[in-house]
């Protein structure tokens, strides 16, 4: 059984995500958090296999929480909808197991979780943003 903790500040999303993963036969959701801080606490308390996190949450963001849990054996999966500057780089440096689209079909999400459990990283290409060179013609003169 893959033990999962989910952190998401939007209540309906948290509920739906929880129910959908619970329906998978080899997964069980053992904790739900409303922010990154709660997620860190739950992970330390229950030692889940996987912690799925939203990025933008009050108190502590998913990326902050992921950085804090970098040395914890629990695999961190970040879910988000749009690429935002700097996020990909931070997720990569925090060595998260997955950096995935929140809207990926639930089968795909479940499959990704299984692949990540085997030690591979899964990063949605849509979320990888370019590191821009600074060629701002307004500032460099």
């Amino acid at each position: 059984m893959i033990k999962i903790v989910i952190a998401e500040d939007q209540g309906m999303l948290l509920g739906a995500l929880g129910s959908i993963l619970d329906l998978e036969e080899d997964m069980t959701v053992i904790g739900k958090a409303k922010n990154g801080q709660e997620a860190v606490t739950l992970v330390n308390q229950f030692n889940p296999d996987v912690c799925i996190m939203d990025i933008e949450m009050p108190v502590k963001s998913g990326l902050d929480a992921a950085e804090e849990l970098k040395d914890h054996p629990c695999k961190i999966i970040i879910l988000t909808t749009f690429a935002r500057p700097g996020y990909f780089e931070r997720a990569r440096k925090a060595e998260v197991g997955g950096y995935l689209l929140k809207d990926s079909p639930s089968e795909e999400l479940a499959d990704s979780i299984r692949v990540i459990m085997k030690g591979r990283r899964v990063y949605a290409p849509e979320l990888v943003d370019m590191v821009f060179q600074n060629d701002n013609p307004l500032t460099d003169r």
Partner: protein, 235 residues
């Protein structure tokens, strides 16, 4: 003999500058577009991103529940219906914000503003605006808004006349009040209403004339056939 190389030297320099100007323009427009997109993406993230993800998840969930627990499935479907409608409303609001204000909408708005300020309002509008590019309309709406704001804020006027005209090659707006007129110098570092108008009009090759006698009169003109300076990379 001496003049020529100097001349050439300077010509080269000028040509280099001119080409820099072109390059810079191109880079800027690309950069600005990127920045604007990121800004919009940020706005979209919190509203649409969340809602559409939720709809996706809940539809998967409903599909899985339908046989085992049709009542629970119905609740999910209900949430989907709600969520999609809220999202649609938000998209509409966002889109109408982004589109800028239509001139005809702005006319309605200023009528209300002037009524509230107890300024008698007369309008002569002969325009169809059929061939007016959105950008031009946007700029004109902003000008009109600022002109009327100024009347309410500064003029002490009791009447205001707005006249819109359209000819083959030009669109014009006259805004006239019977107030104090513009008295004293305008400090361009502090005030930016009128300057902003001028700058925006310049984008669309328009002009602003300000007359101050027996009140204030603004005359705004924009050529209908707009020379689009930066066609490329912008379309």
């Amino acid at each position: 003999i001496i003049l020529l190389p100097f001349n050439t030297f300077n010509r080269n320099k000028r040509e280099k500058l001119e080409s820099q100007l072109k390059d810079a323009n191109q880079k800027i427009s690309q950069m600005v577009v990127m920045e604007e997109r990121q800004r919009i993406a940020r706005d979209l993230h919190d509203t649409l991103g969340q809602k559409l993800s939720l709809v996706g998840l809940k539809s998967d969930l409903a599909g899985k529940l339908i046989d085992a627990n049709p009542e629970a499935a119905k609740r999910e479907i209900n949430d989907i219906s709600q969520t999609s409608r809220t999202a649609l409303k938000e998209v509409r609001e966002m889109v109408s914000d982004m589109r800028g204000t239509k001139l005809k909408d702005e006319l309605i708005r200023i009528e209300q503003v002037l009524k509230a300020a107890e300024v008698e309002f007369t309008i002569k509008d002969e325009t169809t605006l059929e061939k007016t590019p959105p950008l031009v309309e946007n700029v004109l709406s902003m000008c009109l808004k600022e002109a009327v704001t100024n009347i309410v804020k500064h003029s002490k006027a009791t009447t205001c006349l707005v006249e819109l005209n359209e000819s083959v090659d030009e669109l014009s707006i006259r805004v006239k009040d019977n107030g104090t007129g513009i008295t004293g110098k305008i400090d361009p570092t502090k005030k930016n209403g009128l300057r902003g108008m001028e700058e925006r009009l310049e984008f669309v090759n328009g002009t602003l004339e300000v007359l101050s006698k027996e009140g204030t009169e603004l005359f705004i003109r924009v050529p209908t056939v707009v020379k689009q300076v930066k066609q490329e990379g912008m379309a």
